[in-house]
Assembly symmetry: C2
Homo-oligomer: 202 residues x 2
């Protein structure tokens, strides 16, 4: 039992453990974000990371724990990005929507793997889908907030669900290359979707 952090090759044990954890998380993101959701197995992650299974179980108790940690990290980052963008935007609903959409597009263009994790993994990966993880939860939250004043409860719920699905599908198609369109048009259209949601309540 290593009670004190002995230094090793210039770094302490905890440092190296943390570095390996980081490496495993990155590898997990790589595998989870490359479509092959079922291919993120303990062995595959270790092969990719050039680490032994031992170091996997040193940092995570389960395969589940890694998957959840990867997803959680991406969601947290996206949430921060969205909230930050909305806070530092203009006050009107149009500016808020545009800031949020723009931040999200920037995020998934900067690292499409994160986009795929956010959009696909909750449905694709058994670990995530078994726990009923939401798609685009942070978008859903923003959407619900914006719709808060109009219509009744059920209508709001349906509109929010529809809007999240619409955004998710559009982004997914964009990431998959199925939707060949410029980034600006994508952004503009998604903003229109967000703003148009309110108009649905006839």
């Amino acid at each position: 039992m290593p009670e004190a952090a002995r230094t090793w090759a210039g770094t302490t044990l905890d440092d190296r453990r943390a570095a390996r954890r980081r490496l495993l998380l990155d590898t997990g993101l790589e595998l989870l974000g490359t479509g092959s959701a079922a291919a993120v197995s303990v062995r595959a992650v270790c092969r990719h990371a050039r680490l032994t299974e031992r170091y996997f179980y040193e940092n995570f108790t389960d395969r589940d724990e890694l998957v959840l940690a990867v997803y959680d990290e991406v969601v947290t980052e996206a949430h921060r990005a969205l909230v930050g963008a909305v806070e530092s935007s203009g006050p009107g609903p149009r500016q808020r929507a545009e800031a949020a959409v723009r931040a999200f597009v920037a995020l998934i263009l900067d690292d499409p793997r994160k986009g795929r994790v956010l959009l696909l993994s909750p449905v694709t990966d058994p670990t995530l889908s078994r726990r009923g993880v939401e798609r685009l939860p942070m978008f859903a939250a923003l959407v619900r907030e914006q719709l808060a004043d109009r219509a009744d409860e059920e209508d709001r719920e349906m509109t929010a669900t529809a809007l999240v699905g619409a955004l998710a599908n559009v982004f997914s198609a964009y990431l998959a290359g199925t939707l060949a369109v410029s980034r600006e048009r994508l952004t503009a259209h998604c903003v229109r979707l967000v703003l148009g949601a309110n108009a649905l309540h006839s």
Copy 2:
């Protein structure tokens, strides 16, 4: 090599082969439509159907072939239902949309497994997602047709993608029980979604 169809237990060989194929297809639908998309394996299907693996490979060359056959059957049925409903409806866009939505709701309420296969399996199941199977392809077709006259190509494509995603998410939430709402309100809201799509082109 059985050249002629000898009768056996009152039925011919081909009849029994067909019956087994049907049984395998039904079992495949059951497993694929119960969420456990990865759990539809050759052995699992045979266990469930109380058939030996031999009869699996008598009717299908692959696990893939069964999955694709199940999906194809459900899609074909849904397509027929939708086209039929639209054809025998009133002429206006509102009546057409309402007929289509109503037919689809009836379909997935009559057998939720089919709904889940249509909505989830293309994303969930490796066999289906690997081949890039579309979600709700028949809905997408109808949608594209209805949007044909308005806006330009790219806008139509994005609107269709958004609408399909919105409908899929709403139906999925409804099937999952997440969206606690009456069947009538669900239908009405989806009709509004379809009709509202046109209004998006500002």
